[in-house]
Symmetry: C2
Subunit: 237 residues, 2 copies
Amino acid sequence: MRYALFGGGKRIRPQLAMLGAEAAGGNATAAIPWAMAIEMVHTYSLIHDDLPAMDNDDMRRGRPTCHRAFGEANAILAGDALLTEAFAVIAQDPALTALLAQAAGGQGMVGGQVSDVKGKIKNLSELERMQAAKTGALIQAAVMGGAIASHAPSMRIEVLQKFGRALGLLFQLTDDLLDADQDRARDSNSFLHHMSAEKVLERRDTVADEARSFLAHLGSAAAPLLELTGRIQKRNQ
Amino acid sequence: MRYALFGGGKRIRPQLAMLGAEAAGGNATAAIPWAMAIEMVHTYSLIHDDLPAMDNDDMRRGRPTCHRAFGEANAILAGDALLTEAFAVIAQDPALTALLAQAAGGQGMVGGQVSDVKGKIKNLSELERMQAAKTGALIQAAVMGGAIASHAPSMRIEVLQKFGRALGLLFQLTDDLLDADQDRARDSNSFLHHMSAEKVLERRDTVADEARSFLAHLGSAAAPLLELTGRIQKRNQ
């Protein structure tokens, strides 16, 4: 659990949680348990995705993957325990527990992963649906849950819900662009399979503008989140 | 998820949840979401335990195991989603969320499973510690959570906590006795490796009496739970 959790992740989701709290006018520190929970769920999903039965990856962030370092049984169990521990740290907030279960479950992250494993994505709208569940749901929940954790007014939570949806798509578009040189276009689960790289770039910038337009409703409190959006748009890792 | 969840389990844990509610003087129906959550967690643990990297079982309850029927990736994901869904159905009750996370996590069920996978249990007290975590924690939580879900007085919850600890041990002792003919004595993770079958039987009856002694504090409301305890003591499947 520690090996995977403290393995040099970029901590994008915890940042989103805390900046989501700030953007909604709340206190970022109120979102710390939520930020921890989201990162634990993200980490568990990487451990399980890397397993031989899934992506069968040997390396992650420059080190052996969890199952390579500790064996498959321990990797499965480390993932299970991280998912469980995520709920432990937010147990006292029913709204956050419900949000995490919905974003991470069969209608969210795991559901998207099932579609991804199945493969054979036929068209762009099917791909967007899969990605919205697999990656988008947790990104969206991260930022929205930050606002909930800091007891923000529901109107601001709704704004961040819309922002989060756009950001999730932006994240996946830029993720595919990063891997563009690795023959990703052959994989039906990539945007590059369904659109030219130029079109993906165009879409990326349109979606980033859309995300920013939601933040405009939140005033200067959203400035750090605006800046992070720009970094995700232009990211090179 | 449905294949595993509706695969003919005995529903011992949901019964414990609902009878725990009754024994504490509450309404069994108030414990239904908790009963569902506990059974989902139990089912996910069986799916993951059956995986090739763990026990590598092909059959469960007379049918192919989940990974045999749907492939390993889907079995891992079905387990993940069942664990997540368990938290969804009890999200509105912080005490239950905390109890489930504690009983199912690294200090409870998964922690016990890690010790079990590691093997090489040296003595009886180490075995009891492993079993208390692996199987006992969820059994104990089942009955105790039922009382919590029905808003029972804390004194009764504490009685059921003690009862649940004894019942968890009883469950494991009888489980080992059921498999006694399968050379279980060679496995250091079995009570039969550390004690003769006669001693295990003696221990079983002592522990069952201890469990019953706690229920005596709860009066006639605990009669159905008393009866279930007797059935577990004498079970032959």
